[in-house]
Amino acid sequence: MLVMEKNAMTEEIEELVLKYGNQRSALIPILQDIQRKYKHIPDFAQQEIARLLDIHPVEVFSVISFYSFLNTEPKGKYIVRLCQTISCDMQGKAAVAKAIERELGIKFGETTRDSKVTLEYANCVGMCDQGPALIINERVYSKLTPEKAVQILNELK
């Protein structure tokens, strides 16, 4: 990270601390905001958050590693999470999964080379009556067919 980028990041985290407070309960909202913007929580951000909340950086890392929606390695601009739980599975999840993998040329758990899409599985996303379902960043798509899923992905800018 360049010094300028570091300074910008520090400023950004300072603003988040002003918004959510500097107590421990502010940690997860701050991490979520950084995650939403950068698609991961860089090492430097972890250190700065720890410094400003006055906790050990290991505590920050420990929390990130616990939650599946927080991560330390960069992910794509769009994180696609296909529900793998039984109701979606019975409604044709496997065919949708294969179609997406073919179209993007990556497997689940991987990111496209242009860093546009990361493909993951999610556990039950609460759309069991309208499966198969997937979530892209925070939007949810339901009643998918392989064709419809691919179309949605191709419309991502």
């Binding site: 929606f69 019975m90 999610a122 556990n123 069991c128 309208q130 979530i135 925070e138 949810v140």
Partner: protein, 399 residues
């Protein structure tokens, strides 16, 4: 927010926004607790703890601050009733929280919304704003002096275990969502160490109806031991999946008829952590005294491979176990390995029986509800479908 044309005896019955809070504020705290005790309302998340008891303990506690938390971390496979309540009936949920706040003497309510439901956040926050404008939230609510109450929404980050109330509190406090030892219970030592009521979305949504129509009216629905109605999230092999409000005591076969399920072989009640009910037991009732459930109903027809179903559930638990206690962290991996052995046809019956024993140990030795219930499906599917799985074309289709 558009409302679908839903019909039901209690939650989906007609309700004028603000009615419950208005009525509650005209009553004393004792009167409200009395009505809720009369209603015999029990927690709708699945555990079924009497709501009045929970509230009474917190109401009696002396503390600088008390909290009311709405558990909207609905993560059980096959459950989506909270999604419907929050999107279509937010007034019930939030007013339930306001009434709870008034009754127990709390000024702050927190909704713990699962990360997967982030798409609802905007509309829920807009709704809270409109409640503030109507003075249903904020300072001196509806002119009641010194009754101040506010609701904030906190997002989860994709951890099933955070639906467990102490794990949820840990997460709200900015920690890993690992369950705490109980006791102390949240009613004594909850969020920030203060007395805290943690209620399911559906429990809270029942409150405004109970207050405006009375506990006795509520008790008329359902059975003796399970009063009121329940929202069932129905998915799987049926013509009409969706959320249904039915009185407690409805049998599985009645429910299957309502949702137009055909050739049903099995029904998973209570999600991955629930029980798999075979055809021979379809006359059993959905009620706390028979099959208690948080409302997840997954229907399997004759074409489904139950071993595949079980594998899906065990994969779920291996991923979602928080890893804090050994029975759950290692037990679930062992059970999944057992399922894979059966799938390949490389198993010994003696070992499978040992695994069932391990499952029973996990039910006793795990720290929280996740590990205590994750072996339910393993034991019930292998018991109830042993013919299919081990004989004939079962167990990797006869290999």
């Amino acid at each position: 927010m558009e409302k679908k044309n839903r019909k039901g005896a209690v939650l989906f019955s007609s309700y004028k926004p603000g009615e419950g809070v208005k009525k509650a504020l005209s009553l004393s705290r004792e009167d409200i607790l009395f009505e809720i005790r009369e209603s015999k309302l029990k927690g709708r998340g699945g555990a079924g703890f009497p709501t009045a008891t929970k509230w009474t303990i917190v109401a009696a506690a002396i503390a600088d601050q008390k909290y009311i938390i709405c558990n909207a971390d609905e993560g059980e496979p096959g459950t989506f009733k909270d999604r419907v309540l929050l999107l279509e009936y937010p007034e019930l949920v939030f007013e339930g929280m306001v009434i709870a706040g008034y009754t127990i003497g709390a000024t702050k309510g927190i909704v713990y919304l699962r990360g997967e439901y982030e798409y609802m956040l905007k509309s829920l926050e807009d709704f809270l704003e409109s409640m503030k404008k109507d003075n249903l939230l904020g300072k001196n609510i509806l002119g009641k002096e010194n009754f101040n109450f506010d609701i904030t929404i906190s997002l989860g980050s994709g951890a099933y275990v955070c639906g467990e109330e102490t794990a949820l509190i840990e997460s709200l406090e900015g920690n890993r969502g690992e369950a705490r030892n109980r006791p102390p219970y949240p009613v004594n030592t909850g969020y920030m160490g203060m007395p805290t009521v943690v209620n399911n979305v559906e429990t809270l949504a029942s409150i405004p109806h109970i207050i405006s129509k009375g506990g006795e009216w509520y008790r008329k629905h359902g059975t003796d031991k399970s009063s009121g109605s329940k929202l069932f999230s129905v998915s799987g092999d049926c013509e009409k999946p969706g959320v249904y409000e039915l009185p407690w005591g409805t049998t599985i076969s009645e429910l299957l008829h309502i949702v137009k399920a055909k050739n049903t072989k099995a029904v998973q009640v209570g999600g991955a952590s629930g029980l798999c009910i075979p055809k021979s037991q379809f006359e059993r009732a959905l009620a706390y005294e028979d099959i208690a459930t948080g409302g997840s109903i997954i229907i399997f027809n004759e074409s489904r491979n139950m071993l595949h179903v079980l594998k899906n559930f065990m994969e779920f638990f291996v991923e979602e176990s928080c890893g804090q206690c050994t029975p759950c962290r290692i037990g679930n991996v062992k059970l999944l390995e057992g399922v894979e052995m059966i799938e390949k046809g490389e198993y010994k019956f003696s070992y499978i029986n040992q695994l069932k024993g391990l499952g029973k140990t996990m039910q006793i030795a795990s720290k929280c509800g996740l590990g205590q219930s994750s072996s339910n499906s393993f034991i019930s599917i292998l018991e109830n479908f042993k013919d299919e799985i081990f004989n004939g074309n079962g167990g990797a289709n006869g290999k």
